[in-house]
C-alpha cells in the first residue's frame, strides 16, 4: 500500500459517512453553526461531503449576546462559501430583555433552546446536524450519533436507541426530529490538528492577545478567557498537548449546578 489512513483521515471519513447517511434519510435538514471551532469544522466536513454545494440551510441561533468577532466571521464566510444562512432569534424573549442577569439557566433555555424550537417549527426540519463532541462534557459523552427528540424536544437519555455498525435510528412518528452528531468521536486536539492540516479559518478569539485566549466561545457575557500565550494554531496544538485544564472551564453553563447541563440538554439544549 503506498499510503496509510491516519487518525485524522479516519475521523474525517467517519464524519462524512454520518453526514451523508443523515441527508440520505431525511433530505429536509439543517446544520447548526455557532461559528465556534467545532461547528466551523463540521461545516468544512459538510462542504466536503457535498462537494462544496451544501444542499440545506446553515442555521445560526443568535442570542444577540455573541462577540462582535463572531458576527463578522459569520458574514464573511457566508458570502465566501455561498451558504444559505438562516438566523434564528427568540424575538419575544429578546424584547422582554431576557439575559444572563435574569438567571443563566433561563437565559440559555429561552435564547437558545426556545429559539431553536421556533426555527424548527417554522422550517419543519426533520434532522439537525450539531458539532458536539464526547470529550467536551460527561453528559455529551453519553450521546448517540443519531439522537431522537420528542415533540417537547425532550431527550430520553434513560432509554436511548441501540446504535451498532453504522446503522442509525430512523425517525418514528412520535419523534419531532433527530439530532445528528458527526463529530462525537473527535477530541479537542483532533479538531485543532485538523484545522491546521486543512487550513480552516477560525474566529480570532481562539488566539492569545495580552496573555489571554478563549478555548470555547459562545455568548460574550458567559465566556471567560484562559491564561495563554498561544497566538498561532501551532502554539494552540502544543498548548493542548500539555494542558490539564478542561476545555469548558470558562463556560458558565457547566458551573452553576452539577446537573445544569443535564437539565438544559433534557429540555432540548445542544
Amino acid at each position: 500500500m503506498n499510503y496509510r489512513i491516519n487518525q485524522l483521515d479516519k475521523l474525517e471519513n467517519q464524519s462524512i459517512f454520518i453526514i451523508r447517511e443523515a441527508y440520505s434519510q431525511f433530505r429536509n435538514v439543517a446544520m447548526l453553526w455557532s461559528i465556534g471551532k467545532d461547528s466551523t469544522t463540521l461545516l468544512w466536513l459538510v462542504r466536503k461531503a457535498f462537494f462544496g454545494l451544501i444542499p440545506f440551510p446553515v442555521l445560526h441561533i443568535d442570542t444577540t449576546y455573541k462577540f462582535k468577532e463572531i458576527y463578522d466571521f459569520r458574514d464573511k464566510y457566508t458570502k465566501e462559501w455561498d451558504l444559505n444562512l438562516v438566523v434564528a432569534k427568540n424575538q419575544e424573549a429578546i424584547s422582554k430583555e431576557i439575559g444572563p442577569d435574569k438567571g443563566k439557566f433561563r437565559c440559555c433555555n429561552e435564547l437558545k433552546t426556545v429559539a431553536l424550537k421556533k426555527a424548527i417549527a417554522k422550517h419543519g426540519f426533520k434532522a439537525l446536524y450539531l458539532g458536539i463532541r464526547r470529550d467536551e462534557h460527561g453528559i455529551r459523552a453519553k450521546e448517540r450519533f443519531f439522537s431522537p427528540r420528542d415533540e417537547d424536544f425532550e431527550w430520553d437519555y434513560k432509554n436511548q436507541p441501540p446504535e451498532l455498525w453504522d446503522q442509525y435510528k430512523t425517525k418514528a412518528a412520535e419523534e419531532e426530529h433527530l439530532r445528528v452528531h458527526p463529530l462525537l468521536g473527535w477530541r479537542e486536539i483532533d479538531i485543532w490538528e485538523y484545522i491546521k492540516r486543512e487550513n480552516i479559518p477560525v474566529v480570532d478569539l481562539y488566539f492569545a492577545k495580552n496573555g489571554k485566549r478563549y478555548r470555547s466561545i459562545g455568548c460574550e457575557t458567559c465566556c471567560m478567557p484562559v491564561d495563554s500565550d498561544s497566538d498561532t494554531i501551532d502554539k494552540v496544538v502544543e498548548e493542548l498537548k500539555v494542558s490539564k485544564i478542561s476545555e469548558r472551564s470558562g463556560r458558565a453553563q457547566d458551573k452553576e449546578d452539577d446537573y445544569m447541563m443535564q437539565k438544559l440538554r433534557s429540555l432540548g439544549y445542544m
Partner: protein
C-alpha cells in the same frame, strides 16, 4: 499516534466504572477541576471519592450508583491513545452494552472475585463472542475483599476460563486487581507477590488494532447519488479492497458491468481509494446507480441471495412473533423481510436451548434463524468481511435486533 478502542463489560457492581476512573486517575489523565467536581459530588452523596462518578454523569446514575448508558472517554500513554467504552452491567441496559461493544476493537471482562461468574458476566461475554470481539483481557477485581488470596483467584479464573472456552474466547491475560485501591492497575501491587504477570495498563499495550480489509476484493455499497454540475456522483464508503480509476466493476444486484471513470473527493485529485475511505465515483457509461447498490469486482462478487441464515440477538422488550414483517438493513442495503424459520432459541446467559422450531423470540435471547428477503441482498461471511456479514432488523423505525452471518455456502 495509533488509537485503540476497548469496551469494559461485566456484571452489575463488579466495578467497571471504578476501574476506568482509577485508570484515568493513576495515569494522571484527569484535569484538576474534574477531580474536584467528583470529590464534591461524592461528598454530597455522603461517600468517599467515587471514581465511578467520572463516567456516571447522569443524576440518576450517581444517586443509584449504577451506569445506565454507555460512555466513551479518552486517555493516552506515551505510546498509544485509547478510547475506553464503559458499558452498563445491569440486565435492563443490555442494548446499551451492545451499542458500546459494537464500537470496540477489544474488550475487558471484569469479574468481582468475591462473587465469581454471574449472569451478566456470561451474557456479556457471549455477546462479545457473537460480535466477533475475540481479543479479551480478563480482570478479577476486588482482590482486597478476599485478602489478595491466590487460591480464590485460581478458583474463579478456572471457572471463567471454562465458560469462555465454551464460547470460543481465549483471553490473553487474567489479572488480579483492586480497582478501588489501585492494585495492579497502573502500578504493580505489593499485596500480591505471587502474581508476576502484567498490570492492567501493561496488558492494554498488547492489544491490536482491527485492520480495515484492504487486502480483500472490492466492496463499495452506494449511500446516495448527487447531481453536481451536470455530473451524477455516486457516493459511498469503500468497505473492503481498493477502487481505482479505469477499473472494470460489477454493480449488484442488477449485474451490469461498467468502468470507473473518476474517483471524486472535494478539492482533491485522486485515482484510487482504499477500504474505509468515503468517496464519490462516476462511471464511463450512464448506469443509474442507487442507494443500496453494491460495487464489486467481476469474478469476486459477494453472495447475492433472498435467504440469509444468521444468528440474531433480540434486544427489545416486545417479543417477536414469526409472522411479523421486519426491515433488514445490511450496510446501505435495505429491504422488507420475514423470518422463515426460528431453528433454535438460546438463553444468552447459559447457552441453554430454550426451544427448537419456535414461532417467537424474546428479549435477550439469541436465535438461529433463516431470513427471507423481498429483494436480493449481497452478503459475505462475517469472518471474511464484517461490513457485509452483519445486519440489523428494524421494526416501527426501531432497531430491535442485530444479526451475524457465518454460514453461507
Amino acid at each position: 499516534m495509533d488509537v485503540l478502542s476497548f469496551v469494559i463489560v461485566g456484571h452489575v457492581d463488579h466495578g467497571k466504572s471504578t476501574l476506568i476512573g482509577r485508570l484515568l486517575y493513576d495515569t494522571d489523565s484527569l484535569p484538576p477541576d474534574k477531580i474536584e467536581d467528583v470529590q464534591k459530588a461524592s461528598a454530597e452523596a455522603g461517600r468517599e471519592t467515587e471514581f465511578a462518578f467520572l463516567l456516571d454523569h447522569l443524576e440518576e446514575e450517581r444517586k443509584q450508583g449504577i451506569t445506565i448508558d454507555t460512555t466513551q472517554v479518552f486517555f493516552k500513554t506515551d505510546t498509544r491513545r485509547y478510547v475506553i467504552i464503559d458499558a452498563p452491567g445491569h440486565v435492563e441496559f443490555v442494548k446499551n452494552m451492545i451499542t458500546g461493544a459494537s464500537q470496540a476493537e477489544a474488550a475487558v471482562l471484569i469479574i468481582d472475585v468475591a462473587e465469581g461468574v454471574k449472569e451478566q458476566t456470561k451474557r456479556h461475554s457471549y455477546m462479545l463472542s457473537l460480535l466477533g470481539l475475540r481479543q479479551v483481557v480478563v480482570v478479577l477485581n476486588k482482590m482486597d475483599l478476599v485478602d489478595f488470596s491466590q487460591e480464590r483467584f485460581d478458583i474463579v479464573t478456572r471457572d471463567v476460563a471454562d465458560w469462555l472456552k465454551s464460547i470460543s474466547i481465549d483471553p490473553t491475560f487474567y489479572i488480579p486487581i483492586s480497582a478501588i485501591k489501585g492494585d495492579n492497575i497502573a502500578r504493580k501491587s505489593e499485596n500480591m507477590p505471587w502474581y508476576t504477570g502484567r498490570t492492567f495498563l501493561e496488558s492494554l499495550h498488547t492489544l491490536q488494532n482491527r485492520q480495515s480489509p484492504e487486502d480483500k476484493p472490492l466492496l463499495m455499497p452506494i449511500q446516495d447519488v448527487y447531481k453536481i454540475g451536470g455530473k451524477r456522483i455516486s457516493v459511498g464508503r469503500v468497505e473492503s479492497g481498493i477502487i481505482e480509476k479505469g477499473a472494470e466493476v460489477k454493480i449488484l444486484p442488477m449485474g451490469r458491468i461498467t468502468k470507473i471513470n473518476s474517483i471524486e473527493k472535494y478539492l482533491e485529485e485522486t485515482n484510487k481509494a482504499i477500504a474505509s475511505e468515503c468517496i464519490g465515483i462516476t462511471t464511463t457509461d450512464s448506469v443509474f446507480l442507487d442507494r443500496g447498490n453494491v460495487v464489486c469486482l467481476p469474478g469476486a462478487e459477494p453472495v447475492l441471495t433472498y435467504r440469509i441464515p444468521a444468528n440474531i440477538f433480540w434486544m427489545t422488550k416486545h417479543d417477536f412473533r414469526k409472522d411479523r414483517k421486519l426491515t433488514i438493513r445490511c450496510a446501505t442495503q435495505e429491504t422488507i423481510c420475514k423470518v422463515e424459520s426460528i431453528d433454535k432459541r438460546i438463553d444468552s446467559s447459559t447457552l441453554a436451548v430454550i426451544a427448537e422450531n419456535s414461532d417467537k423470540i424474546r428479549n435477550l435471547e439469541v436465535a438461529e434463524v433463516i431470513i427471507k428477503t423481498k429483494k436480493p441482498v449481497a452478503i459475505k461471511d462475517f469472518n471474511d468481511v464484517q461490513e457485509l456479514g452483519r445486519f440489523v432488523l428494524v421494526q416501527n423505525e426501531n432497531i430491535c435486533a442485530g444479526g451475524i452471518i457465518t454460514d453461507i455456502s
